[in-house]
Every structure is written in C-alpha cells, then in structure tokens.
C-alpha cells in the first residue's frame, strides 16, 4: 500500500487532521494514566491485612460512666462470649483493622536517639494473634507471665513489658537484611523492648501513615479493661448468627450499655475501601466515555471525508482500483492518523504522569501502560473507520462520470 498519496491528502486537510491527531493524543494520555490509576486503586483495595478476615466479627460495647468494677465485668463479658456456640476464640483488642483511627507510637532504635526512626501502630490485648489468625513466621508468641496492665504502664512507663512482636515489613524497614529476632526497639528511652517474634502481616487500622507504612505494626503484651473491641473468630457461615448472639449476651449482662459497632471484618474492609472503589469506577467511566467520544469523532470525520471524496473514489474505481483497495486506503489513512496521535499521546501521557507525581504522590507511569493505550486506540480507530470505509468501497465507478 502506497502511503505517500495519503500523506499528501493530510496536507490538504491540515487542520482537520491535526485536530483529530490532538484528540487521539489527549485520549491516549488520559486513558494510559487512568488505567494506571485504576490498577493502583484495585491494588490498594486488595491490600493484605494479615488477619482471618472471613472468620472474624467485631463487637464494640461501651459502658456509661467510669466503672470501678470494669475488670470483673470484662471477664464476665469474655466468659459469656466464649460460651456462644460456634465461637472459636475471643479477644478484647485495643483496635481492629479497617477503622478511621489508630494507636501509633514513635519507634527509636537507641535510648539516646533524638529523632524517632518512624511511627508504628500498636496492638495489644490477650490472645490477639490466635484470635486474629495472624501468622508468626519467626520466634514465639507472648507467655502468660509477660503481660502487664495497661493502666499501670500509663502511670509508669518503666513497667512496659520488655518484649514486642513486630511485622515482617517493619523488621525489614528497621534492620534491612538482618534478622529482627533479639533486636531492641524503644517507645521511650527508659524502656528497651526486645523483638521475640515476627508476624507475616498485620495492617495498621487507619493507614494514617500512608500506604507504604501500612504494615508497620507492633504487638505488645498488655492487658486492659474498658474500651477496645471484642473480636470473635468463628466459621464464615456462622458470622451473622454469632454477631446477634454476642450482642444479646452483652446486653443481657447490662441492658444500659451501648453497642457502638457490630460488623464482620469483611464488611469493615468493604466500607474502608469504598472511596477507592468509587474512584476506580469513576475512572473506568471516564475511560469508556473518552474512548466513545473519540471513536464517534473518528466515525464522523471519516464519514465526512468519504462523502467529500466520492468523486475521487469513483475515478480510482473506474481506473481499476478494487473495493479492497479503497477499503484499505481508508483503513491505512486511519492507522496513520491514530499512530501520529499515539506518538504524541505517549509524550503527553508521560508529561501527565510527571504532573500527577508532583501533585498527587503518584508513582511514575510504568512504560508497559503505553502499549496498552496504543493498542486500544488502534483497535478503536479501525473499528470506527470500518463503517465509513465500507461505504467508500461501495461507491460505484460510474460516479466518476457524473457531475456532482
């Protein structure tokens, strides 16, 4: 196929061709970046939590006013919850994944260090790891005699238990390439804490430190009464029943208390990432709309060009060009235009990506996304031009002999 005559026609329709090239370029830039944004959101929504999400339910209960007998009542609650049929494990935990706030602590690596190395989230309570289903990859869980009372530690930080369990991600961040077991961290300079165990994952509840710090987590052996949430582990099919039974049991112990939260962890995750899913949906909508508009634009313009060139087409047909030649002519023309658009579009896409990096803390657009945009646009261009090109191919040679 000779492309020189096609390039010659571009010169005659300079502005129109330029406009469509620009449109395709802009579409390419938007689509590449939007697809990348979607992939980021989808990835975020699937972020691992390190807990047995399908088996866990959370019930948060609040007693009105300060209660001196909080500790005894806590034991009563736990006994009642353990007695529910189908409940495998119960824990009172200071925080659970997928909420809007989290307990965070500054971490120092030495007693004399001035600036904290980072801040990590803090889980505590009895039975935390077994109930959450968080997997230890190295070391051991806490021994019963290692637990301290949270209230005492608040009064005197020196009573902080000298042991801590951390996540793999935090271990790698603090001591890259080394084993974390036996290392020491400090919440405050007076109390060294030795790492005795490493868990695979355990997500920070609120992700307040950003997604990179999502797995910077510590677990310490502290007991507490009052506050926090009950986490109940059960079979996935039993969860709704267990929630109802737990609320009933807790209310039976004191009808005046308030149930502040009752949900499965699956629901908690779905709710937590709703905004990301909505954003991904919106981006998908924009991609489809922009492709549709561009596709229709190509259809409109190609139809117009075909109508304008009916006579020329007739002459070519009269001079011996086959229908296939005409069809291929318009297809090639479209291919060239789209290709110019894509070339410009890649530059634009890259520029847009740099701008997004500067303003929205986005990572750089991976090069692999550029060919995706290119292929999509080529396909859309060919699909859009097919109708008008077929109409062009159907122009009979006799048109050449008629005047307009």
């Amino acid at each position: 196929m000779d492309i020189l005559p096609i390039l010659a026609t571009f010169r005659r329709h300079r502005i129109t061709a330029l406009l469509i090239v620009l449109e395709i370029a802009l579409t390419c830039a938007i689509v590449c970046n939007a697809v990348f944004l979607i992939s980021q959101r989808v990835h975020r929504v699937d972020m691992p939590s390190g807990v047995a999400e399908h088996e866990l339910v959370q019930v948060q209960v609040v007693d009105i006013g300060d209660r001196p007998d909080a500790k005894a009542r806590g034991e009563e609650d736990l006994a009642a919850l353990r007695a529910i049929p189908g409940v495998k494990s119960v824990a009172r935990i200071n925080q659970l994944p997928f909420t809007d706030s989290s307990w965070n602590n500054n971490i120092f690596l030495s007693a004399t260090q001035k600036q904290p190395t980072l801040d990590a989230t803090l889980y505590f309570g009895i039975n935390v790891l077994q109930t959450l289903g968080t997997r230890l990859t190295e070391g051991r869980d806490f021994n019963p005699d290692e637990y301290a009372e949270y209230r005492d530690v608040l009064r005197d930080p020196k009573l902080t238990p000298p042991v801590v369990i951390i996540t793999r991600a935090l271990a790698q961040k603090l001591w890259p390439g080394e084993s974390a077991l036996g290392q020491t961290i400090y919440f405050d300079p007076q109390t060294p804490m030795q790492v005795i165990g490493v868990v695979a994952d355990l997500i920070r509840p609120s992700l307040s430190g950003g997604d990179d710090a999502a797995q910077w987590t510590t677990v310490v052996p502290l007991r507490f009464s009052g506050g926090g949430s009950y986490a109940l582990r059960t079979d996935p099919g039993q969860r709704q029943r267990v929630i109802k039974a737990a609320v009933t049991a807790l209310k039976a112990l004191d009808p005046k208390r308030i149930i502040r939260q009752q949900r499965t962890l699956d629901d908690a995750r779905a709710e937590f990432f709703q905004a990301d899913r909505a954003m991904a949906g919106m981006l998908l909508g924009v991609i489809l709309a922009v492709l549709l508009v561009t596709g229709l634009g190509i259809v409109g313009l190609a139809s117009f060009w075909v109508a304008q060139r009916r006579r020329t087409i007739g002459i070519r047909r009269a001079l011996g060009a086959t229908r296939g030649d005409i069809l291929r002519y318009f297809q090639t023309e479209n291919f060239l235009i789209v290709t110019f658009g894509i070339l410009l579009g890649m530059v634009l896409a890259y520029g847009l990506s740099l701008w997004l990096m500067a303003h929205y803390e986005m990572p750089r657009l991976p090069v692999a996304y550029l060919p995706i945009g290119a292929i999509v646009l080529w396909l859309i261009g060919q699909a859009a031009v097919l109708g008008p090109a077929m109409r062009a191919a159907a122009v009979p040679p006799v048109v050449a002999t008629r005047s307009v």
């Binding site: 129109t16 944004l37 009064r155 005046k256 208390r257 508009v293 259809v299 409109g300 139809s303 929205y360």
Partner: protein, 435 residues
C-alpha cells in the same frame, strides 16, 4: 437578522442529523462530567462562614522541647491544655474559644429509647457568638459558668426533636454520661461545612449534637476524640484519661475584627512564647502562625485530593470533547463552502457569514448545555449516593447552573470560531467555478 440565522442554523442542523447529534452529545457529555466534578469541588472548597471567616483566626505556637528541633519547622496544629487555658484567660482577642471534641452517652428519660452516643464539643462561652451559631431557644453559657464548671449544655434541634419532640427544652435536665445537665440553649440547624473548627474529626458532614463547657468535660473525664501529638515522654495526663502536658490536642480560635488587631495578636503570641521560654516551659525560639479561617483550610488541604483529581480528569475529558466538536464542525462548515460562496457572491459580508456560522455552533452549544445539565444532575445524584462523607453536599447551586450554560456556550462558540473563520475565508469565485 438573528432570527434568519437561527432559521438557517436549524435547517442546516436538521440536514445532517447524525453529525449534529454527535456534536451535541460530545458537548453534553463533556459539560456534564465537568460540571459534576466542578460542583463537588466548588461545594467542598466553599466558605463555611461567609462574611465572618475573614475575622476568625487560628493561632499556632510551638511548645515542643528542643529535641529534634529543625529550623523552619512549622508549629504544631493544636495547643496544649495549659497554653490553651492561658491564651483563653488572657482575653487578648475580641472573642476566643478553646475546644476539643468527643462523644458522650445519653440516657433518655423515656424508657422507650435506648441509651445512645452523640458527638459532643467541649468548648468555652464565646464559641456560639464567634461562629454565628443560631439559637432556636435560650442562649449559650457564660464565661463565669466556664470557670464554675457548670453542668450546662446546649443541644441541637435534632437532639431536641429526639428527646423532647421539638418542644422548648430550655431549663429541662438531661443525663449525659451519668451526670445531670441543665439545658440552657437549643441550636437551630447549623452545619458549617467543612467542619473548620476541628478538622481532626473528619472535614465534612460531621456535626456535634451536644455542646458543653470545656472545664466541666475535663472534670467529668468525658471521652476525647481527635488527634494528639506528643513529645518527650507524653505520659501522665489528667487522670490518665487525657493527653499529658507535653501533648497538643485542643483547638483554639480567636476573633479579631480588623487586620491591625490581627497583627497585634500575632505580636502577643510572640511575647507569650518568649515569656514561656523565660519561665522554662518553652525551649524553642518563638515560632508562631496566625492564619485566618480560609488560609487555615487551605493550609490543611481540606479538599480531598481525589476530588481535585476528578475535576482535572473531567476537564481533560471536556478538552477531548471540544477537540472532537471543532473537528466535526470544521468538516461540516467546509463542506458547505459551495453554499457559503453563493451567499458571498450575492453580497453577504464575511462578518455576516461568520455570525451565521457562529449562530449555528451556538445552537449546538445550547442544546449541549441542556444535555450537559441533565447529565450533571444525574452525575451529582450518583455522587450523592456514593459513600463519601461529603456525598450529601453535592447539589447544583444557581451559580454553577449559570456556569454550566456559560461553559457550554463558550465551549461551542470557541469550537465554532476556527471552523467558521476558515469557512468564510473561502474565495467565492474559486469555489463557485469548481462546482
């Protein structure tokens, strides 16, 4: 003349229905998407207290210890309890209020209602006058009540409806966290958006239903919700319940009627910092800021970045739609070179042809704008049904309605400009001859 152009435009548009529809749809979709996102952006970056916001200021001072100090660091975004009380009692501004947020359990008298939690704000007497909070019944408490730790409470209309069926409840008592409080005022609907005076609780659609004196709440150990930043060993706060003296966790606002007073107040903050340093409480050189309300919102980047990103995306989309329309119009107008040449040859001026073609693109713009408006309404309806905290705020206001049409008309006229100019520059003789 305009009527004639309009007639011509409608004729020409009817002759090529598909192309016309394509152009209208492209404009409508572009405008619809842009207006949806711009409206959300517009609503979210609005002024929560129009007319008053310029007089409200958020003082920041730096009480942190010398450890980890770096030059150029910004002061903390909240105040400690000690500094807050000092500044409150200094009364150096026209009005001032210290506050923090939380939630309190309420036990209704009627046994038909279960106990429930509501969001609460613990603050000082000037709060209501400073922020123009409208009272339905009664009034706020006084500065003397603050110091006396009075069991006074101001509730919202919503809570009044729930507990007292909307009757004037001033003078009645209610049970908050196991304590008896006297209702002194009922606020009418008051929903400043964003929730500017405390951004830690979520910026949008967060409304307290109970307001009570700060010192009363501290005495009764009412629950604190919000953020606290500590330094040193941040332990040992009041009763083991609240953050310690080396933590910032309260918000302090002042009202200053003119810029001169604001400058003087900033000077006061510097003096206060120096004085505290001399006393040994502060270790750093005075590091103060005094933003007014809108500057403070801006400083905190209140508008979610997703919303801004969506607005840019929609704008890019509108650009694609416009390019599309320019291309189609160019094709269409150039195709009518013959007709235009005849009109030129018959004596129509270039300007007349230009006006005629722009009328045609204007008609497309109006149609596109109408379609865009419908799409924007649909888009906003979809936004309202999204789970974000600002969802309920997404409504088209008259200003944005006008902007929609102005944008649609402007976009289509702009899109028609180049094609029209090209089309009426066709040399009539040449065009007529070739036909």
């Amino acid at each position: 003349m305009f009527a004639y152009y309009l007639d011509l435009a409608l004729h020409s548009l009817k002759r090529n229905k598909i192309l016309t529809a394509l152009m209208v749809v492209a404009i409508a979709v572009g405008i619809g998407a842009s207006m949806t996102t711009f409206t959300v952006l517009h609503v979210l970056s609005g002024d929560p207290l129009p007319g008053k916001s310029g007089k409200l200021y958020y003082p920041q001072i730096d009480p942190q210890d010398a450890r980890g100090m770096m030059p150029g660091t910004l002061p903390p975004e909240q105040v400690t309890l000690i500094d807050g009380m000092n500044l409150l009692r200094a009364k150096r501004a026209d009005r001032q209020a210290l506050m923090f947020g939380g939630a309190v359990p309420i036990r209704p008298d009627s046994s038909a209602l279960d106990p429930f939690y509501v969001e609460a704000r613990y603050t000082s007497a000037d709060f209501f006058a400073m922020f123009d909070a409208p009272f339905l019944y009664g009034h706020g408490w006084t500065g003397a009540d603050d110091e006396a730790r009075a069991r006074d409470v101001v509730i919202t209309r919503k809570l009044d409806d729930k507990l007292f069926n909307g009757a004037d409840s001033v003078g009645h008592t209610m049970q908050i966290g196991g304590n008896t409080f006297r209702i002194v005022g009922v606020l009418d609907d008051w929903r400043p958006n964003p929730h500017f005076y405390d951004l830690n609780t979520g910026s949008y659609n967060y409304f307290e239903q109970v307001f009570l004196p700060l010192q009363t709440a501290l005495e009764l150990h009412f629950e604190h919700n919000g953020s606290n930043d500590c330094w040193g060993n941040g332990t040992g706060g009041a009763g083991g319940i609240y953050p310690s003296a080396s933590c910032v966790w309260l918000q302090f606002w002042v009202e200053l009627d003119n810029p001169a007073k604001a400058a003087a107040y900033q000077q006061f903050l510097v003096h206060y910092s120096e004085e505290q340093k001399a006393l040994g409480r502060f270790q750093r050189a005075p590091n103060v800021r005094l933003d007014n309300l809108m500057q403070w919102l801006d400083y905190n980047g209140v508008v979610p970045s997703d919303v801004r990103l969506q607005a840019w995306l929609a704008f890019g989309f509108l650009l694609v739609c416009m390019l599309n329309t320019v291309g189609l119009m160019l094709a269409k107008f150039l195709r009518r070179s013959g007709e235009l040449s005849v009109r030129r040859a018959l004596g129509a001026s270039r300007r007349a042809l230009f006006a005629q073609l722009l009328t045609e693109s204007g008609v497309i713009g109006i149609a596109g704008g109408a379609g865009g408006l419908l799409l924007a309404l649909l888009g906003l309806w979809m936004v309202r049904h999204r789970p974000s905290d600002y969802a309920a705020l997404a409504h088209l206001d008259p200003a944005m309605l006008l902007v929609t049409f102005a944008l649609a008309l402007g976009a289509s006229l702009l899109a028609g400009m180049l094609p029209a100019w090209r089309a009426c520059n066709v040399a009539p003789a040449l065009q007529l001859k070739s036909n």
